[in-house]
Subunit: 446 residues, 2 copies
Amino acid sequence: MSDVVVVGAGLAGLSAARRLVAAGKSVTVLEARDRVGGRTWTVRMGEGTFDVGGQWIGPGQPRMSALVEEFGLETSPTFSDGRKVLDLRGRLSSYTGLIPRINPWSLIATQIAMWRIDRMCIQVPIEDPWKAKKAREWDSTTVEAFARRSLRNKDAIALVNSAARVIFGSDLGELSLLHFLHYLHSGGGLAKLIDTHGGNQDARIVGGAQQVCEHLAEACGGVTCGAPIRRIEQSEGGVVVHGDEQSWSCKQVVVAVPIGLADRIRYTPPLPTLRDQLTQRVGMGATIKCVALYDRPFWRDAGWSGEGVSTDGTVGVCFDNVSPEGQASLLGFVVGAPGRGWAERPAKERRELVLSTFARWFGDEALSPTDYREADWAAEEFSGGAPIATFPPGSLSVMGPALRAPVGRIFWAGTETARESTGFMEGAVESGERAADEVLEALNRN
Amino acid sequence: MSDVVVVGAGLAGLSAARRLVAAGKSVTVLEARDRVGGRTWTVRMGEGTFDVGGQWIGPGQPRMSALVEEFGLETSPTFSDGRKVLDLRGRLSSYTGLIPRINPWSLIATQIAMWRIDRMCIQVPIEDPWKAKKAREWDSTTVEAFARRSLRNKDAIALVNSAARVIFGSDLGELSLLHFLHYLHSGGGLAKLIDTHGGNQDARIVGGAQQVCEHLAEACGGVTCGAPIRRIEQSEGGVVVHGDEQSWSCKQVVVAVPIGLADRIRYTPPLPTLRDQLTQRVGMGATIKCVALYDRPFWRDAGWSGEGVSTDGTVGVCFDNVSPEGQASLLGFVVGAPGRGWAERPAKERRELVLSTFARWFGDEALSPTDYREADWAAEEFSGGAPIATFPPGSLSVMGPALRAPVGRIFWAGTETARESTGFMEGAVESGERAADEVLEALNRN
């Protein structure tokens, strides 16, 4: 019998496990997949390594910075020199710097929207968003309904929606305004969330983000992979964690699976109804990362930064994705509504949709990649979607307190439960360390 | 090996099974609970029988009427003679007939709201709501955001919210406007949904609604109870349905569990992502039915009908619940936000909250029931909530097509999948019969 079983070897679970091991506890880490990393996943393509999951880190993420340093990893800044593409409601334009060349009224409206949103979001407590003074009011509307009423300008709404798709994997019409504001506040504001330099897409980890999990796993003394957990059974004496063929006994358990899937584990006795109703409602976003490799970064030669934003197309955002090793690549995100049911469409059609967007923006060379690969996170049985869970209206304000409240011997980790930087790798680490502290307190109590 | 396994012995599953048996197919019906009935559940209390689940039937429900007649059951009209109570934003008033005595402006606003909603809801196709011309627009806002903008009158909004709580087990701020309009259209309009005489609360079945399921189960040749299903495995040759200790093989399977819980079954291979994302998001409503028994229907003597509506209190709606056998009783609904996390509150506090509301409305005799019982549907492991599933904004318009689309050998039943009267017992029967027809077609094809 271990002191603790940790279910899920993503950043959250491994951060919890490492802290527990460091405190001298015996810990068993169980992972459903045959790899560690969860929503971080690094693959080798061509002459480079590419993150088809969580990829970027930025300033103001002390835990990730410390891990990168500790494990002797390097970072590489995101390339963004040159002209950027804006595909705004069907009208193609390009610009350099931060300000897109759009109708000045739309530009002003967008700027006012961003100011207004930033002013509202600081009223939402980062740790306990359900305690915001206007929690109930903001949680009873979608961001889209709010935007239609108070922004009015269609270009501004479309731009905010395309940001939301990338940030949440969901459209404005799915998101509770409270959830949206909370997320923005927790992540440092809208501008920081969508920026590259100095923002949350500032840099990537040379060799890939999954390495952090691999190093953490090593520090924990290893992980049992291929062990999906089906049931967690609590009793007076302890917890039994049941897989398909094996069970593990422990004193306390940390559940570090995405909250949208946490209710696919069976709990005996059943969880409190507030927690149960929350997990019924919370669903993972739709994000497909599409990586195309090329012989050379032809877009750079033509003066393009590789950055593109589309409000209505299949590809919501595109980035220059040349690997630190020098492998030329573009990265397209199919996110939110266009990404729903993506796996059910023919592979050829999907590929053509993505590459034709790249070609429309950066020229016909984009149509002939040397390799092409998608990571459709909704089709990942043990993620159910990405980048994060969406809280529909009426859930966070009412059921939010059940988000990380321990249930007997069960403790909850995962970036959605983070008290800061929720949704980011940084938040995953914070949540794991917080869950570990809760477990240590419980172990010391008994 | 049976031709068909039906998972879930509620009205939907049993209606499917009966039709399949009648067509000469071999059918195994599996039920997780130790009883049939699903969200219908009749209990004996005092000298009467009471439905702590689905209770009422009304005109325009041909399938339920036919079953009642076929099984030789009687119906008993809902009592509603006398004054009714309205507890509107803390102001108590009483009225007779259909029109509450409220501020005339609020009355007009409420009437206009109802007209407007009824005019909108006929634009939503009952069978395929995602095909409504304004599906995306209406699905990107909550009913509350819509109401705040277009009704404005606070009394009217509060009244519509209290109707929504009873109908959906959810508040206006949780409901997609498209879902709300679809449900109303499918159920015959807002007035019919909330009315007793001539409405959907017109009558109850003497001896309880669960009897219909018991008769259906008999007609199917019995049900295997105590058999929760954990996994459904499809292959070229057939389907294997796995319980805790036993597995069942069949050619086709009907899954007739509440859609909010359908994703707690594991599917191999995994379901299409659109279906998976839908079931991640859909959650069951919060409904607690509270039955208090009394020596005599003291409220009737004082001229009260027993009907009460509160917009802000714990009890959303109260009805005279005297059983056809003559056992005096009041029935209170704790629904929507006040019902969240109900099971986590002390039993004594819950009881006092409910009885003190009855007393405030009908007099202190209400404080001394001869028996008191709650059915908290969110605490029911195999329902997860009641009366129905809530579709959050952005789900029905985008993922709705996955609602009843068969997946290989899997067919979906349940009142949420009904093509008419969705949410009602009538809809459950319709959905089961439709699923059976789909299965028969598939069996004949092979």
